[in-house]
């Protein structure tokens, strides 16, 4: 079933390796980084909100 003869061929992509892997690489990079950034943001927001809520409850006491 598999079209490629060797792994080297696969990497070489018939001479288009740079372009193909450049595309896929950036794509994978973006799809890996975006969720990480979003999760980090969420964690930071949660931490900040918790701090704020605690500060508020302290100041009303």
């Amino acid at each position: 079933m598999i079209y490629w003869n060797s792994f080297a061929d696969f990497i070489h992509m018939g001479g288009y390796g740079l372009y193909v892997w450049g595309s896929f690489g950036v794509n994978v990079l973006i799809m890996a980084i975006e969720p990480i950034v979003v999760t980090r943001n969420q964690k930071a927001t949660k931490a900040r909100l918790k701090r704020q809520i605690r500060a508020e409850s302290r100041s009303t006491e």
Binding site: M1, I2, Y3, W4, F10, M13, G14, G15, Y16, Y19, V20, G22, S23, F24, V26, N27, I30, M31, E34, P35, V38, T39, N41, Q42, T45, K46, L49, K50, Q52, I53
Partner: protein, 248 residues
């Protein structure tokens, strides 16, 4: 009346937040599965294209990214219309959560297109209708994000951003056709995308990849919308309960 009530209840952040939280893993998993299957078909099984050589394999991300970049804009405009018509809070948040992903998709489309264009046409960029309007779409995304970021009051930001989205969605086809006409008037189009009859493996690979991108976008947008919800509703009881539950 009851119908409307239900809609509001479903769209209430307090109910949507946990729902989204539960759905995210499913969408993420679906995205990974579709992605793996699509890559297997596209990268390993599908034969070469007789005109473009192996370079055509960029299609497996280029086309899904292009589709998603346009589709997400439509979805945002849809949410904007709902938000302006029914004044639901969720819609503005959804639009804002989708925008960065849409912009990234537009960027990916441009990036992969450029990397494809260099070997195929010998230039990174040509001023063709499709390319130009994709570039303008990216500008529209950035304009939307800049506008909503510049308005401090989130409700005002939602409304103003929604209006911009609706104006934009009217303009996108106008821009597309005017650019197309502009381009073809001058000269025979430099670019003739070969509509070669695609091998079925290629087609399935591409469709699977498109599904993968779609699921990915939903998952990321849900993640982002949950953050936005917490931020905006920080004075409500459910957020406080949520945060405390988290601490345990």
């Amino acid at each position: 009346m009851t119908d409307r009530f239900n809609l509001y209840k479903y769209a209430a952040p307090a109910t949507f937040y946990p729902l989204a939280g539960k759905l995210i893993p499913w969408f993420a998993a679906a995205s990974v599965i579709f992605g793996l299957a699509g890559l297997y078909l596209g990268m390993l099984v599908a034969p070469t294209d007789f005109q473009q050589g192996e370079g055509y394999r960029i299609i497996f991300i280029h086309v899904p990214a292009s589709w998603m970049s346009m589709f997400i804009y439509l979805v945002m405009a849809f949410w904007a219309a709902i938000g302006l018509a029914f004044n639901t809070r969720l819609s503005g948040m959804m639009a804002q959560a989708l925008a960065p992903t849409g912009a990234l998709m537009a960027f990916l489309s441009l990036w992969t297109g450029a990397l494809w264009g260099k070997p195929m046409w010998g230039a990174w960029w040509v001023w063709d209708a499709r390319l130009t309007s994709e570039l303008i779409l990216l500008f529209l995304y950035i304009g939307y994000m800049a506008l909503t970021a510049a308005i401090d009051d989130p409700r005002r930001a939602d409304k103003a951003g929604g209006l911009l989205l609706l104006v934009g969605v009217v303009n996108v086809p106008i821009i597309y056709f005017s650019v197309k006409w502009w381009n073809t008037l001058h000269q025979g189009s430099t670019v003739n995308l070969t509509k070669s009859s695609m091998a079925t493996t290629m087609l399935y690979g591409m469709l699977l990849m498109a599904l993968c991108f779609w699921m990915y976008s939903i998952a990321v947008a849900f993640m982002r919308v949950r953050t936005i919800m917490l931020e905006r509703e920080r004075h409500t009881d459910w957020v406080k309960a949520e945060l405390e539950g988290d601490a345990r």
